[in-house]
């Protein structure tokens, strides 16, 4: 679970997340086009039939309305679906029908599990989950053999239909039984994370955020940057969003309030949708994108583009927005710092260096930026 594993797999770093040179005004950033699909955080989505994998994929990454997922055909055979478009996250859905087992020759476990950062196993909370747990156990054992660094995430899905108490009960039960299963198999060291999810609210996005965050080695640095940025700009809460999927890559240390998160998600939708009306699909979100929404409770939502994939959404009180110049300046510092963080990584990667002291170097970047860049308000 700790992020300072020295030999973190290099391929979980998004190569194309780095930046080219700045334009003269120092604001324009060109995403590096050398990125290959292997270098983004990669997530497998598994689970029994009809557990809701395709729905999750459609809702999170294709903006499908949750109600429409009722009409999705069930995915009858193994389907590899890459979400490889413009998202920060690379995501691969691996539909895993009940009758397919690991002996099948088409099942190239080395290929699948080798490059994968996280395995999300979806369990239908409304169903009897005995079969799912057995499947889960087998999957974990197999995957762990191939790749010990895989993070195992369990989505206890479709919890919208069950009561609060039974939500907790099923989480407790599934937790208990799967842990017992694994310790029987002698795999005590595997850590499982559990999330209660539903596509009808934002819990699926939050759970995905947590999963993705674990795959970003720079997360502590990003969080620290946010933690510096926020108090200095008088902001209450800030999220760094992946624009396409609306999952948050990082947020500051204060507790995440679901309503605030939902507001920010909706804001991104509004901005993108509105922007698409007057521009082409490609330019709907670019370096000029920014938006300001004033709510009637003296709160302001402020969105700024960070790069092609990412946007920063802040929640702040109206009186603190008087000093917008300071906030904007701090934001530029923040953006520069982020790009430098990833640039450093990219450089390292190019040089094929051992990334032993990388985290250290990241922190240096951070501190320098923290001290030089941000304005104290």
């Amino acid at each position: 679970m700790s992020y300072d594993d020295d030999d973190y797999p290099a391929d979980t770093f998004p190569k194309d997340f780095g930046y080219g040179t700045y334009n003269q005004d120092g604001l324009e950033m060109e995403p590096n086009s050398t990125g290959s699909s292997e270098t983004k955080p990669r997530i497998l989505l598994m689970g029994l039939r009809r557990s809701g994998k395709s729905s999750i994929q459609k809702v999170v990454f294709h903006k499908m309305s949750p109600n429409e997922t009722l009409f999705l055909e069930s995915t009858s055979k193994i389907v590899k679906d890459d979400i490889n478009n413009s998202s920060f996250v690379q995501f691969q859905i691996w539909d895993f029908p009940g009758q397919i087992d690991f002996i099948e020759p088409t099942f190239d476990s080395d290929m699948i599990f080798g490059g994968c950062g996280a395995l999300v196993f979806v369990i239908d909370a409304k169903d009897d989950y005995n079969e799912a747990l057995t499947k889960f156990k087998n999957t974990v054992i197999k995957a762990y053999k191939v790749n010990q660094r895989i993070k195992f995430e369990v989505f206890i899905h479709k919890v919208d239909g069950i009561s609060d108490d039974s939500k907790m009960e099923s989480q407790r039960d599934i937790h208990q039984r799967s842990s017992d299963d694994l310790s029987e198999a002698g795999l005590n060291q595997i850590h499982l994370s559990f999330h209660l999810t539903s596509i009808y609210d934002h819990s699926i996005f939050e759970a995905f955020s947590k999963v993705v965050q674990k795959l970003i080695p720079q997360l502590p640095t990003l969080e620290n940057l946010l933690n510096i940025f926020i108090p200095n700009s008088g902001i209450e809460k800030a999220f760094l969003f992946d624009v396409v999927s609306k999952i948050y890559i990082a947020t500051d240390s204060s507790p995440v309030d679901m309503q605030a998160y939902e507001l920010c998600c909706d804001m991104i939708d509004v901005v993108i949708d509105l922007s698409s009306i007057y521009s082409s699909e490609e330019t709907a979100f670019d370096s000029g994108s920014s938006s300001l929404i004033k709510l009637n409770n003296n709160t302001i939502l402020y969105l700024r583009e960070v790069n092609k994939f990412l946007a920063l959404v802040c929640i702040l009180r109206e009186e603190n927005f008087n000093r917008q110049g300071v906030i904007d300046y701090n934001f530029i510092c923040f953006r520069d710092a982020i790009s430098e963080v990833f640039e450093l990584r990219l450089k390292r990667q190019k040089q094929l260096e051992n990334n032993e002291d990388e985290d250290l170097a990241d922190d240096h970047t951070l501190i320098r930026h923290g001290n030089d860049g941000d304005v104290v308000t």
Partner: protein, 772 residues
């Protein structure tokens, strides 16, 4: 001793506060804030500001602060960048920051000192680790991997040394022994959202946890952790703190929305015992002044530090209404009230009052028990008297019928046609009564009144207020009916029973202009079973009367229900009076109206504010449908026959009801009943249901080929008539040919029945058939 409220403003958001051991100093930590104040009777005095000067450093932006349990000068902070610092506020300048542990990868959320070892402190962080520091060394002594997303709070147990609890964002609570860093002692899922705070009870082995799921839960940590109490708050719980000297009191503050601090009595978890509403932004830190249960310190994002005196708190619990009543859709009422111990009679009186219309079913559940500890209270449950009298429901045989049994029973016994509406209604209301569907019973009675007789009930004239008139109004109404009726009919001089149809026509003709709903176009069938008529209503009707009438007779909506509840006496009166009325009404049908001189002289027909029952019937049907009783709704429509056209119901809706009901009947395998419903339908699309999939395909028993088109029993391929023969006796079957759908063999049904009484396999091929 009374503490004055006192308040001080600070600069910057505060995130946490902590009290020193001797309760004289208070440390407040926040985004750009770390100050120590001294407390005295007059207020706060700033002792030390640790963020003064130029030395701006990230480790100053604190999430949490804790005082050393031994040394009054030492305090520790946890910073957003993961740094844990130890401070000595007696030193000056930069030396104040004694130690800096920069070990957490991500934000440090919480820090706390060991209760008896002065040098030990632990911190919990977003990176999912808990670290233990010894202030004599500059590195962490131990690291505990909680294996979760992030640790939000850690607290040492006051009862056992070395034991601490850690709560985390995935909703789990862990208990750790400090000496065993490899594995936690106990782990359990406490909430279905992130847990943000926990606090040990000062005297009992209880742990309170507060979470994003808006609940505070109290766990008994003795042995296996068990849930003791749950408090539902209105917002995400930020911090909880047990109140000293009060076993059952706990203070909490919210992270969003709610700026108040609430003190709860955990035995009364629905309403706060006391509230402090001074803050104008989210409260972030609370502490009781030592063991003093009357003084609460709090700090908030509005940059103030408050000292609250408990006497000044608002007491929401006292303002709460001590009575509560609720009504379910069957008409049962539960009622709870506070009882004063010196006046236990109150309850008795109310009992007898309501007994007349309700059976006092279950009473006196609790008296001064756990849930209602503050006041002695009592709860009653009143069931509607089953069948209003006839069907006794004593406590012993009150076993409620299963809903599906009611459904099946009603489906079988309700009749939809073949009799006069009045009889239908009467029968059906009996059936409904039998299955304790009170609403349906009332509705049927109502229908009988309004549609069953061949005239509309002329409404009563008197507008006397119901409330002080215990005398049943209905008797008066009945007399009114008697006096109004002849007035109408005398002119027509028609025999009521014999020439009803004619009479109706005439009335319809005369009233065409006045009656908007008119029904003038309605062709009445010649049978007298469907009798509809419109009569002029001379007497003026006010809407008050309607309201009251409806209260008594038909349950149209929740507001009416509430009214009925509010005047139980009225309810009772009307119900009790109804039988009389019915008798009166039926009397009318039998005997021709006596020619009584009219009391009212009406020179012209006034614009009629006529009351249309149709609308209300339609509403009632909709409501029935909404509460899941499409059965009654549809049966009513069918039973009304032609009268249904008066109801303002859309065909599409009725069609939908048809489909729903037929579907339900099919599900219970009530094929005959479903068929009858379909046959009774006047909607084309419903009638067609019976004509769907009526084709039966047969195939040859020998070769399995489908049998030819021309002759049903002759197989083209085998060139044989084998399929026409009985496989038991070998003769050609005339009449009913029964066969197995599995193997296509069969024969005379009586032969097969005999055969299969002894055997289980097909006589021809050995197939395991199942004739039925």
């Amino acid at each position: 001793m009374r503490y004055p409220d006192s308040r001080i403003c600070m600069e910057g958001h505060a995130n946490a506060l902590a009290l020193s051991k001797d309760n004289t100093l208070i440390a407040v930590a926040g985004r750009s804030l770390l100050k120590v104040y001294s407390i005295d009777d007059y207020g706060f005095r700033e002792v030390c500001n640790m963020r003064g000067g130029k030395n701006q450093n990230l480790s100053y932006s604190s999430n949490d602060v804790a005082w050393s349990t031994m040394d009054c000068n030492l305090l520790a902070t946890a910073a957003t960048n993961g740094v844990v610092s130890v401070w000595d506020h007696s030193k000056c300048g930069r030396q104040k920051q004694l130690l800096v542990y920069n070990e957490h990868e991500r934000t440090a959320h919480t820090v706390t000192f060991h209760s008896s070892e002065p040098n030990i402190l632990i911190s919990g962080s977003q990176d999912g680790t808990i670290k233990c520091f010894d202030i004599r060394s500059d590195k962490s002594v131990n690291t505990y991997f909680s294996n979760s997303e992030s640790v939000r709070d850690v607290k040492f147990s006051p009862h056992e040394q070395n034991i601490f609890s850690a709560v985390s964002e995935n909703g789990t609570v862990q208990l750790w022994d400090m000496r065993k860093w490899d594995k936690c002692m106990v782990q359990f899922t406490a909430h279905y959202g992130p847990v943000y705070t926990c606090d040990w009870h000062p005297t009992r082995k209880w742990l309170a946890t507060g979470s994003r799921d808006k609940q505070i839960k109290v766990w008994d940590m003795e042995g296996r952790p068990g849930l003791e109490y749950t408090i539902h708050t209105i917002a995400v719980v930020g911090r909880v703190k047990w109140r000293p000297e009060r076993t059952y009191h706990i203070a909490s503050c919210a992270l969003v929305v709610d700026y108040s601090i609430h003190v709860w009595d955990i035995r009364r978890p629905y309403i706060p015992f006391a509230s402090f509403n001074e803050h104008t932004n989210v409260t972030t830190g609370i502490a009781w002044l030592g063991s003093d249960s009357h003084c609460l310190l709090s700090t908030s994002k509005d940059s103030t530090l408050h000292k609250h005196a408990f006497e000044d708190a608002t007491r929401p619990a006292l303002k709460a209404n001590a009575q509560g009543a609720s009504l379910d859709r069957h008409g049962d009422i539960s009622f709870a009230n506070k009882i004063k111990e010196y006046a236990p009679k109150t309850s008795g009186v109310s009992n007898t009052k309501t007994n007349s219309s309700f059976i006092n079913h279950r009473k006196a559940i609790v008296s001064g028990s756990i849930q209602f500890h503050l006041d002695h209270s009592r709860m009653y449950k009143f069931m509607l008297k089953d069948a209003f009298s006839g069907f006794p429901l004593s406590e012993t045989d009150s076993k409620p019928r299963q809903e599906h049994e009611c459904f099946i029973g009603c489906a079988r016994e309700l009749i939809m046609s073949g009799k006069k509406i009045a009889e239908l209604c009467e029968h059906n209301s009996e059936v409904s009564k039998k299955y304790s569907k009170h609403n349906a019973t009332t509705l049927w009675n109502f229908l009988k009144l309004f549609y069953g007789s061949n005239h509309f009930e002329p409404p009563f004239e008197h507008r006397s207020s119901f409330s002080n008139q215990k005398n049943p109004i209905n008797s008066r109404r009945a007399t009114q009916v008697a006096s109004d009726w002849p007035q109408q009919r005398s002119d027509l001089s028609q025999d009521l029973n014999g020439n009803a149809q004619e009479a109706t026509h005439e009335i319809a003709a005369t009233n065409e202009d006045d009656d908007p709903l008119g029904g003038s176009g309605v062709e009445h069938p010649p049978t007298s079973s469907v009798i509809l008529s419109e009569t002029q209503i001379i007497s003026e009707i006010t809407f008050d009367n309607f309201e009251l009438l409806r209260n008594g007779f038909i349950y149209v909506g929740p507001t009416e229900a509430a009214k009925a509840l509010a005047f139980p006496a009225l309810h009772h009166d009307v119900q009790a009076a109804r039988p009389q009325l019915e008798i009166k009404a039926s009397d009318h049908e039998k005997s021709p109206p006596p020619h009584v001189p009219t009391v009212l002289k009406v020179s012209h027909v006034p614009p009629i504010p006529m009351w249309e029952p149709h609308k209300f019937v339609a509403d009632a049907l909709m409501l029935l449908n909404d509460v899941g009783d499409v059965q009654t709704a549809l049966t009513v429509i069918i039973a009304l026959g032609e009268a249904r056209k008066l109801l303002p119901l859309e065909d599409a809706l009725v069609e939908h009801w048809f489909h729903t009901y037929v579907d339900q009947l099919h599900r219970y395998e009530l094929w005959n009943e479903a068929c009858e419903v379909i046959n009774r339908s006047w909607l084309h699309s419903v009638q067609q249901l019976n004509q769907h999939s009526t084709a039966m395909h047969t195939n040859c028993g020998d070769c399995g080929r489908p049998l030819g088109n021309k002759v049903g029993w002759y197989c083209d391929k085998c060139k044989s008539m084998q399929s026409a023969k009985c496989c038991v006796c070998g003769l050609i079957v005339r009449g009913v040919y029964a066969w197995c759908q599995g193997c296509s063999h069969g024969g005379h049904i009586e032969h097969l029945q005999k055969y299969f009484a002894k055997h289980s396999k097909c006589p021809k091929c050995g197939h395991l058939c199942a004739y039925s």
